[in-house]
């Protein structure tokens, strides 16, 4: 699991998740991403290189989403691969997170 953060114009923070988001990596991912969410208004989580999300991983995403909503911020998921998208849809995560196909559409939606 690797995390990369970059800034886009329009005060958008992009966090790229790379690798599996599972029980073993979820705690580290939670800590890192929580600080990003707490310190930035618009956060986009880029899932392009995220190969697997376990239920623990979903829980992390849920926490982030709840916190974001609490703080009145925007959070979105982009570039979900098919499997992850299936899981997200199946579990109903789509109703908590705004999901976009790519960064551009996400940025446009947040602007």
């Amino acid at each position: 699991m690797k995390l990369e953060t970059k800034m886009l114009p329009g005060d958008i923070t992009v966090v790229s998740l790379k690798g599996e988001l599972n029980y073993n990596t979820s705690e580290e991912a939670r800590e890192s991403m929580m600080s990003v969410v707490e310190n930035n208004k618009n956060v986009v989580i880029d899932m392009e290189d995220c190969t697997y999300v376990s239920s623990s991983g979903l829980r992390v995403l849920l926490l982030l989403g709840k916190r974001s909503r609490q703080l009145g911020e925007n959070i979105a998921l982009v570039n979900l691969n098919e499997e992850v998208k299936d899981v997200m849809e199946m579990t109903g995560f789509g109703t908590i997170f705004n999901c976009y196909d790519n960064l551009d559409t996400a940025a446009a939606a947040m602007a």
Binding site: E20, N22, Y23, S26, T51, Y52, S54, S55, S56, L58, R59, L62, L63, K66, V87, E89, M90, T91, G92, F93, T95, I96
Partner: protein, 707 residues
């Protein structure tokens, strides 16, 4: 252990080898250099010594030869002078005779007649001379002259009586008178003496000079003599006769004497090379031989007889001879002094032998001292080797002792004894190493204690978790067989928990006589929190499932309750279905869970279409919708958690829904018991993951409707 021991001693051996090796090499190099140095110096010394001997011998030989030549020349010159002195004396005698005779001739009136003997039987040694006539003498006419001339007897007697070298003194007149005074008797058979035919007379008369004869026998048969004669002239220059003296050769020899120069002889020759006389210490034979050699050798003859004086080295009859020659000034004699080379060079030979002996002694001494030096060196070498050996062993022991001690102590550690009692105070790296080992063992002890206590705690924890797991599993129903008597449906379940306590659960129970509730759920996360949340979820679902309530209504209520105080953001995906076992109506609600498969009799498994609802505990305001289908006889509903589809190989390849789907449709499920179906799936999963660790609980529930 044996290996360790070998290693231990090998360090000692190595250190010893290094010390011994370096020492040995140094010793050998020093010894070789010393040996060669001594050898070279000795060799050089002996060489120089030999050179000195040769030089000394040669120089001494040369100088002795030079000295010999010089000495010989002194001898020959000295003897020549001596002879000349003698000759001067004899000439004075002759002059006396001559002047007396001359006086008598010029003033006959002054001299009265004097007596003379005609017989040789008369007593010798008187003033009366003996008279002999020459062969051609006219005795009658000569009587007057004889009477006057007899006065010469006084002079003649004076000469013979004064000098015992002189055998005879005589005056022979041309007229035929031969007056002689002799100090030795001689016998003449008749009164005439043919003196005019004699060489001494003729040579003196003809040359007008002093004549010196060689050594010859006295005509009267007495001693060997040398004649010295001189012509006598009157005042007006008229030849009157010859005055002469006979010199006894033996006496002459005696008067010539010896030489101061040891073993040196001398011989006198006339200038024709004729042998005259040799010195007393030397045989006439040798003298004659030398004379013959010189005469027979033109160059040498010229050198000797045509020069005033000089020296020569000759080889005569294989003998090296040094000679010196001096020509008499007034006479035609040559004095040759000579000495054998062996005798001349004897001192140098002696000197040389002396030096050789001395140098041999010195060489012997040098060799001896060299030998003793070598022996001393060898002994020192051996002593040094022994000392080196002892020193080497002691030093290597001293160096390796701490290492050995350390090794033993470390060996103890490997045996499990962590008491590191090694106290090394060498002040070097070994002490550092020892300290490091001590620190290490202390840290190790602490660490082991820590690990022990931790593992104890872990063991404890693990045991508790095991208990938790058991509790968790025990709340899942396993009384499916109880329903077998029920002809409307049957149920089979399987849960393979992953390590630790998981969050999956299933449940089935009769809501009322006609309704069977089946549920499967997966709590997010693992461990104790997940387990607790699972308990809560399971309890809530079973408690809130009431007759006449749709699954959606039930999940809506459960969700609302779960959302209260869910700060940990735990959530659970769940499927809840309620089957009317009489009619086959199956109503269900899916809260974010993997959709189940539905089996239509003889058609196969397919996805059960579900309305997507949010997982439970995500949002308290969520309303869960209910779906519904009708089941026919033999139809089945297969519920599972993502532990099945997400079972992974070591390469992270997931089992997948497609493989599950294909597997389910690969066998004739209508002829299989539910247990067989589950066993097939389980087997296929195990086959797929091929020993990889199980990451998530694998939970399945299958139910078949018979009515």
């Amino acid at each position: 252990m044996a290996e360790l021991k070998n290693k231990k001693s090998s360090i000692e051996n190595k250190v010893f080898s290094v010390i011994a090796g370096i020492s040995l090499v140094c010793l050998i190099i020093t010894s070789v250099i010393a040996y060669f140095g001594v050898f070279k110096v000795s060799r050089r010394f002996i060489d120089i010594n030999n050179e000195i001997i040769e030089h000394a011998a040669e120089n001494s030989h040369t100088s002795i030869e030079e000295l010999t030549d010089k000495e010989l020349l002194l001898v020959s010159t000295g003897k020549a002078e001596h002879i000349e002195e003698m000759f001067e004396k004899y000439e004075i005698y002759l002059e006396n005779i001559s002047s007396h005779a001359s006086d008598m001739k010029s003033k006959p009136e002054v001299f009265s007649e004097a007596p003379y003997h005609l017989s040789f039987s008369a007593k010798v040694g008187s003033e009366t001379p003996f008279l002999l006539y020459s062969a051609d003498a006219d005795k009658e006419n000569l009587s007057d002259e004889a009477g006057v001339t007899a006065n010469i007897g006084i002079t003649l007697h004076r000469i013979t009586s004064k000098d015992d070298v002189i055998s005879d003194a005589y005056y022979a007149t041309d007229s035929g008178l031969f007056f002689v005074s002799s100090n030795k008797k001689f016998l003449v058979e008749n009164e005439s003496f043919d003196y005019k035919q004699r060489e001494w007379y003729q040579k003196a008369k003809n040359s007008g000079e002093v004549y010196v004869s060689g050594v010859h026998s006295d005509p009267f048969g007495r001693d060997e003599i040398i004649c010295i004669t001189k012509p006598v002239y009157s005042v007006n220059g008229e030849f009157m006769g010859v005055a002469g003296v006979n010199i006894k050769a033996e006496k002459f020899k005696e008067q010539l004497g010896y030489t101061d120069f040891v073993d040196c002889c001398f011989t006198i020759f006339d200038d024709n090379g004729e042998f005259i006389i040799s010195s007393k210490n030397c045989s006439s034979e040798t003298g004659k031989n030398i004379g013959e050699f010189i005469s027979g050798n033109g160059d040498v003859y010229d050198d000797i007889f045509r020069t005033q004086n000089g020296t020569e080295h000759l080889e005569i009859e294989k003998r090296h001879i040094h000679i010196a020659h001096t020509r008499l000034k007034e006479h035609k004699w040559i004095v040759v002094a000579y000495v054998n080379n062996e005798i001349a060079s004897a001192p140098s030979t002696v000197l040389k032998n002396g030096i050789v002996a001395l140098s041999q002694e010195v060489s012997d001494e040098v060799m001896k001292s060299m030998l003793s030096t070598c022996i001393f060196g060898l002994v020192s070498l051996i002593i040094l080797l022994v000392l080196t050996y002892i020193f080497g062993i002691t030093l290597s022991k001293k160096i390796t002792k701490p290492i050995v001690t350390l090794t033993d102590s470390v060996k103890n550690i490997t045996h499990g004894n962590l008491e590191f009692n090694c106290d090394i105070k060498t002040g070097d790296e070994i002490e550092d190493l020892s300290d490091t080992f001590r620190n290490m063992t202390e840290e190790l002890k602490e660490y082991i204690d820590k690990v022990k206590s931790e593992s104890k705690a872990k063991e404890h924890h693990k045991a508790e978790l095991e208990i938790a797991k058991k509790i968790q599993m025990s709340i899942l129903p396993n009384n499916a067989k109880d329903f077998d008597i029920n002809t409307e449906f049957e149920i089979a379940t399987s849960i393979i928990p992953a390590k630790g306590v998981g969050g999956d659960f299933y449940d089935y129970f009769m809501v009322d006589d006609e309704h069977l509730a089946i549920t499967i759920a997966d709590v997010s996360g693992k461990g104790v929190p997940a387990a607790l949340f699972m308990m809560i979820s399971k309890t809530l679902i079973s408690n809130k499932t009431k007759p006449n309530m749709s699954p959606g209504e039930i999940l809506t209520e459960v969700n609302r309750l779960l959302c209260i105080n869910n700060d940990a953001a735990m959530f659970v995906t769940a499927f809840l279905g309620i089957l009317n076992i009489k009619t086959g109506e199956f109503r269900y609600s899916n809260a974010g869970h993997t959709p189940p498969f539905v089996y239509r009799y003889k058609e196969g498994f397919d996805n059960l279409s579900v309305t997507k609802n949010l997982f439970l505990a995500g949002d308290e305001d969520t309303l869960y919708k209910t779906d519904s289908i009708m089941l026919d006889k033999g139809d089945m509903i297969f519920l599972y958690t993502d532990g099945v589809t997400e079972a992974s190989t070591k390469e992270k390849k997931q089992y997948g829904k497609k493989r599950l789907y294909n597997l389910l449709n690969s066998f004739a499920a209508e002829h299989m018991t539910l247990e067989e179906i589950i066993a097939n799936i389980t087997e296929d999963i195990y086959e797929f993951v091929y020993g990889a660790d199980q990451a998530d609980d694998i939970t399945m529930l299958i139910t078949r409707f018979f009515n």
